[in-house]
């Protein structure tokens, strides 16, 4: 076993990538910068994947600490980390995968006031939050400062989605039919945005989610239900979209909204790229 950090050379850690990825692409990854908002079920696995791909600079934005109910799916969560900062755990894990990686952590929630400052100086942003208002803030800010942003969804029982936005693409709030496009985020508007998620819970019953659970979610007595395979597949696909943005290979283009990578583990087409007929999606059905 190697006993000096010098032995953990970047090239050796990522030697098995070569063949799928060219050396030039691996260099681009090494210089690549990714910001991940949220280090939970989707963000945690995406962060680990980015580190294992060899991305050189990562910014983790996450305020929470680990709880026992994170353990069913969050790859950064362990009993030994309960009550500890998710952002610090991410930093520790990523450094233990690639000691050369630069990890910046910010233990704050994204707000309209801090978004542009926190999201600048990066090549791509992954929005892995579970809060619909925060998502609007993230994708608005990303478009304004000219950085691509990746959206994800995880919906009971076995559904999910990944879709990317760029400053040139159709905007997030249009593609997902939010009532807030070009409107200020007043308290009333925030309520309208949050109501979309309640309707998603109720709609998920048609796909096999437990009706009692959906009712309890709407009444705020149950958390969002999510199992490890779905959260992890969505996080993986999101990390792969970030990878595409960074390596910029001819013929390997990110899936840009309104095109959507749709996940449904109960369907024969378990993962499929879909284009909406009307040019946008009803977010409550996703």
């Amino acid at each position: 076993m190697a006993n000096s950090e010098n032995h953990y050379r970047y090239e050796e850690i990522f030697s098995r990538n070569i063949g799928v990825i060219s050396r030039e692409e691996q260099d681009r990854l090494k210089r690549g910068r990714v910001t991940v908002v949220g280090a939970g079920g989707v963000g945690g696995i995406a962060l680990i994947q980015l580190a294992r791909m060899g991305v050189g600079q990562i910014h983790v934005i996450e305020k929470d600490v680990f709880e026992a109910s994170n353990l069913n799916r969050q790859m950064l969560s362990f009993v030994s980390r309960l009550n500890k900062s998710k952002a610090e755990a991410a930093q520790e894990t990523l450094k233990d995968i690639n000691p050369e990686i630069e990890v910046r952590i910010t233990k704050q929630f994204i707000t309209e006031e801090n978004a542009k400052e926190l999201l600048k100086d990066t090549d791509v942003i992954i929005d892995a939050t579970d809060h619909l208002v925060a998502r609007v803030i993230i994708h608005r800010a990303a478009a304004k400062i000219g950085i691509p942003s990746i959206w994800i969804a995880v919906t009971p029982p076995f559904r999910g989605g990944v879709m990317s936005f760029t400053p040139a693409s159709s905007p997030y709030e249009i593609v997902l039919r939010h009532p807030s496009y070009k409107q200020p985020l007043t308290d009333e508007m925030k309520e309208k945005i949050n109501a979309l998620k309640d309707r998603r819970a109720l709609h998920s019953v048609q796909h096999g989610a437990d009706a009692k659970w959906a009712g309890a979610y709407v009444n705020r007595t149950s958390p969002w239900a999510v199992i490890a395979p779905v959260a992890n597949i969505v996080g993986l696909l999101a990390s792969f979209e970030a990878f595409k943005f960074i390596i910029q290979r001819e013929g390997l283009k990110p899936v840009i909204g309104p095109d959507l990578i749709r996940v449904n583990l109960a369907s024969r087409l378990m993962v499929e790229v879909q284009t909406p007929a009307e040019g946008s999606w009803d977010n409550t059905l996703l």
């Binding site: 069913n72 395979p229 597949i233």
Partner: protein
């Protein structure tokens, strides 16, 4: 935190967010289930973690190897701090840090015709996540003889994968994959060679799918390993693990042979379920 971990409520808090996707009764079944995983590398290592996070009551894990630097690009259990340690030991420590009350048996050994039945008996599902063909055959044959369902997978460059489930009363692993030497002992050296050679054909087919020619040449002469990136390894792990969970909760999985889950991230249908042609799969093309 420590006292809470020993509290019987800890398990139900760990799996709280599974409920809604799975009923309490299904979760109870998972709690009483016994899973065995062969291989604790890029695919099996993730499955061990997912098993603990899903709340499966008992996990057995088998792997002969120790962690090396070039494992770190994809193996979720691999990190700088465990280089040189047995994969079986690291897996055991990790799953216990997710669910301290999980029952485990992790063994540092390879599987062969002599120990397979002893290892597999008394489990509810077998997951095969090894990378050499003769061991794959031994595992699926033995599971079938013992009347236990088994889940198999394989992955090929650049971004392709195959997952299928096998039942004691269903089609044989060796039949659907058109493998030579059905029913013959794998102690026959010539036969082992024939089976191992199929992987060389897969390397050449991968070149047609976009993998580099130099890599296939190096692989066939034993100078290079199979190329595999974290996204493909994780997708294979997650989809095959989902098969195992469907079986354990008493449902029909997505891909009982002759059906299979086919992964190809370079296509419009990145993941889909397909039925094998009447002649079975051409393993060289998977």
């Amino acid at each position: 935190m420590q006292p809470f971990i020993n509290n019987p409520d800890f398990y139900w808090e760990l799996v709280r967010k599974n409920i809604g996707v799975y009923s309490k009764e299904e979760q109870q079944k998972l709690k009483e289930s016994k899973l065995i995983i062969f291989g604790l590398g890029g695919v099996g290592g993730v499955q061990a973690i997912l098993a603990a996070r899903m709340g499966i009551g008992h996990v057995t894990g088998i792997d002969p190897d120790e962690f090396e630097i070039s494992n770190m690009n994809r193996q979720m259990l691999a990190s700088v701090s465990v280089l040189g340690q047995a994969k079986a030991k690291v897996a055991e420590d990790t799953v216990k840090d997710i669910n301290p009350s999980i029952s485990v048996r992790f063994v540092q050994t390879s599987v062969d015709e002599h120990n397979a039945a002893d290892l597999i008996k008394n489990h509810d599902v077998v997951i095969e996540a090894v990378d050499d063909m003769p061991s794959r055959v031994i595992i699926h044959r033995t599971a079938r003889e013992l009347g236990i369902p088994s889940v198999g997978m394989s992955g090929s460059p650049p971004h392709r994968g195959f997952v299928s489930s096998f039942f004691p009363d269903g089609i044989h692993y060796e039949d659907i994959l058109n493998l030579p030497g059905k029913g013959m002992k794998l102690t026959n050296r010539e036969l082992r060679k024939q089976i191992a050679n199929i992987k060389k054909k897969r390397a050449w087919y991968s070149v047609e799918q976009g993998a580099p020619r130099e890599w296939a040449e190096a692989f066939c002469s034993g100078k290079a390993g199979w190329i595999i990136t974290p996204v493909r390894a994780m997708l294979l792990a997650t989809f095959s693990f989902h098969e195992a969970v469907q079986i354990l909760t008493g449902q029909i999985p997505m891909a009982p042979a002759p059906k299979a889950i086919l992964i190809n991230l370079d296509s419009e249908h990145p993941v889909q379920v397909k039925t094998a042609p009447d002649s079975g799969w051409n393993y060289a093309h998977l």
